[in-house]
Amino acid sequence: MLSRIFLGLAASAALLAAQNVQNQALTGEAARSAEIAKTNPFNTEADVQQGNALFQVQCTYCHGARGEGGRGADLTAGVYKMGGADPDLFKTVRSGIPGTEMPASRLTDDEIWKMVGFVKRLGSRGLSEKAPGDAAAGKALYAKNGCAGCHRIGDEGVDLGPDLSDVGRRRGLAFLEESLVKPEAFVSNTFRAVQLVMKSGPAVGGIRLNEDDLSVQLRDTNGNLRSVMKDGVKELRRDKPSLMPSYERLSKTDLTNLVAYLNSLKGAQ
């Protein structure tokens, strides 16, 4: 009698293993995924640029002009919860993500492939470029200039500015250099600076986390979460200056080395 229970359990485990496949068969997804190419058939530079153009119109509303996220996921991280292989991304973009705001796309499969090429590029700009500087010297400059007072690399540092653990994969060399000398040139929606001049009391500044007509929420420069009612605010200044100080004053060599160090940060995987 007893053995029957365990037989049952074993059968149930095998069945569970098979389950994903079965459910796909149910939805017709299996049949469709059989048709999806294993690698992107549209991956010339021209295809990627067309993908960019489509992305600007179709996707930036949620994913930001440079894919940095906002209402939609951050696509610059190079890490995909729904899978990062070409067919995975193709499915995500074509079918959307059920139960979330990520919509299915009505574009043709060819156009979707082109966007997939661009999405992949977003998450890996730094991979193809070779930095000329000295990364070890750049690492010392990173420590000397107090970058860790605002940024995180792995377990070190804080979360006031963006996590730099994988910035060398996400960002190209030109972007990295521009971030250091002209931080205001590009500020992602998730790291916009605000400064609140109050009707009474000292000003508050930091990174804006949220806002509506009544209040604004921010992370102040000490890393504290704050919420301020607007009826107490005399003036609300946005974006300029960025909270990221400019390092224009660094020598050309130092900048090159710092960029080389940042480029060497490819993240955990």
Binding site: I5, G149, D155, P202, L225, S227
Partner: protein, 558 residues
């Protein structure tokens, strides 16, 4: 443009605090957790304090002005699954979990989001009863959450940055494991329970290092070969005996004891292969939190066949019992009896039914029930038994008020059918007949785990109803009763304003007078309440929060 007046990069900044969140009240040290009762405006752990009273001392909202209570803000989960969470509040920031395993930090005054973290589970997880999560624990600057795929994650409370994640167990093993409960910090340890009692798992309670996620101890809720009480399981039944730890526990610093309730043995309704008491199922465990060693246990329902988990929240209180001041454990159990136990020794003191029950004649000196035959599940279905499958109480929190010195229980009166599968089940999972998410896959063979509930009639108030009762903990006497239409899935909270808050399955949120049970205020949230309320202050004002459906509703006076 002028640079900020503050100097950047490593310098410190003086900030006005009066009209903003006063810092974040971080870090939350273990000393603060021990004295959590004193932090009137905060809610720092699942049951607010280690004695699990779920009592808020705040009294701005009281019997005189509760009629003016109104909604201050909503938090919309925008998820198909309902909230079962108890939010935490530390100095104006609310931290909560949203299904499946997301964490949100909100401004507790306005409900505006500060940050979000999302843990993604695999598509198929093995939760019995919805892809839910019941909340967080906090220590230092770190929040902790259990996941449906059996991980524990640690997240920075200031940013939502994930610090570590540890796998507790293979979530696909046996019939499937899950971890929907909230963890509990005790001193320097993170205590974590698990679920899966309807699927032939093998239960445990774990402790982890909050800094690293390294496991420090594991207590097996089913004795392993050679351990005491191993013989309470027939044959190999111990291997798949269930006995999970899916809710939250309590801690008594005076005796350094951790209390935690355990679930039913498996198969739930069919006991053909598991003769014996099946320890430590349907029990309360008293453990040394430093080592995970068992100090004592008390089994409420030996050899359970009704799925009457004892995963209620243990309530630690001192009360008069037969004229003696007693350090007690007060427990309104799923099996329909209210128990009083000496929490220093585990000795049974008394038990008294708080809902209609048909299964026990009485108790011997050790608290062992004298079982009335004829209440067992049968193949054709047994409809004589009270309480029903979901019990007289379930996981939802009870509350104790030091003002009235009464225990408040949102009890379930329910008449259901208990059945048991003894024939091979005809269906198997096929493409045209997939298993619905969250249900038990049937392997096509005889599955003794199935059987059980046939649901009650919808809108049959003579068959089932709910009631908030005030219980004198020393005697089990009911001081007042407030009846509601359907058996509840929400808990209650007593407050310093002498009110008892709760919500019904229909989404009616209410405040009762704690002394009389009179209903003083209601709000129609119109989403089922599957959680217990909390109270805190934002900018010095008392607020009350309770989830209804996939929305968190927060009330205030002005």
């Amino acid at each position: 443009m002028k640079k900020w007046s503050v100097r950047l990069a490593g310098a410190t900044f003086a900030m006005a605090a009066a009209w903003t969140l006063s810092g974040q009240g971080l870090p939350v040290t273990s000393e603060r957790l021990l004295k959590a009762a004193d932090e009137q405006g905060n809610w720092l752990m699942y049951s607010r304090t280690y004695n699990s009273w779920r009592f808020s001392g705040l009294n701005q909202i009281n019997a005189n002005n509760v009629k003016n209570l109104h909604v201050k803000w909503l938090f919309q989960g925008r998820h198909i699954e309902k909230f079962e969470t108890t939010p935490l509040v530390a100095n104006g920031v609310m931290y909560l979990t949203r299904p499946e395993n997301a964490i949100y930090a909100l401004d507790a005054a306005t409900g505006r989001q500060l940050w979000a973290y999302e843990y993604r589970n695999p598509a198929r997880t093995f939760n019995c009863c919805g892809k839910v999560n019941r909340g967080l624990a906090i220590l230092g600057n770190t929040l902790f959450m259990n996941t449906l795929d059996m991980h524990v994650v640690a997240v920075d409370a200031r940013s939502g940055h994930e610090l570590w994640k540890t796998e507790m167990y293979d979530y696909t093993a046996a019939g499937g494991y899950a971890a929907p409960g909230a963890p509990l910090i005790v001193k320097d340890k993170l205590i974590v329970g698990m679920a899966g009692g309807e699927k032939g798992v093998s239960g445990f309670l774990d402790a982890y290092d909050p800094k690293t996620g390294k496991r420090l101890w594991r207590f097996h809720t089913i004795p392993q070969p050679g351990e005491p009480n191993f013989g309470t399981w027939d044959g190999d039944s111990w291997k798949t005996g269930g006995v999970t730890t899916w809710n939250n526990g309590s801690y008594d610093p005076e005796t350094n004891t951790l209390f935690w309730g355990t679930s039913n043995p498996w198969p739930d309704y069919n006991d053909d292969f598991r003769k014996g008491d099946n320890l430590y199922s349907c029990s309360v465990l008293a453990l040394d939190p430093d080592t995970g060693k068992l100090k004592w246990h008390f089994q409420f329902t030996p050899h359970d066949v009704h799925d009457w988990d004892s995963t209620q929240i243990p309530i630690l209180l001192d009360t008069q019992f037969q004229g003696m001041n007693t350090k007690a454990l007060a427990w309104a159990n799923r099996n329909g009896f209210y128990y009083l136990i000496d929490r220093t020794t585990g000795k049974f003191l008394m038990a008294k039914a708080f809902v209609k029950q048909t299964w026990a004649k009485g108790f011997d000196d050790n608290g062992r029930p004298e079982v009335i035959p004829g209440n067992e599940p049968t193949p054709e279905g047994n409809d004589h038994t009270w309480p029903g499958i979901d019990g007289g109480a379930n996981w939802m929190s009870h509350s104790y008020s030091p003002l009235t010195k009464w225990l408040y229980v949102f009890a379930r009166e329910e008449h259901r059918v208990f059945s048991k599968n003894t024939v091979p089940h005809p269906t198997t999972e096929t493409p045209d007949r997939p298993v619905a998410a969250g249900t038990l896959p049937n392997a096509g063979a005889y599955d003794p785990g199935l059987g059980g509930a046939r649901t009650q009639q919808v809108g049959g108030p003579e068959e089932s109803w709910g009631k908030v009762i005030a219980v004198d903990p020393g005697t089990g006497n009911v001081k007042w009763e407030h009846k509601v239409l359907t058996p509840p899935w929400g808990g209650v909270m007593a407050t310093g304003g002498n009110l008892v808050f709760g919500g019904t399955l229909e989404g009616m949120i209410f405040a009762l007078n704690a002394t009389t049970g009179e209903r003083l205020w209601t709000f129609s949230a119109n989403g089922p309440v599957f959680a217990s309320p909390i109270s805190y202050t934002a900018n010095g004002k008392q607020m009350v929060s309770i989830p209804a459906g996939d929305v968190i509703v927060t009330f205030g006076l002005d």
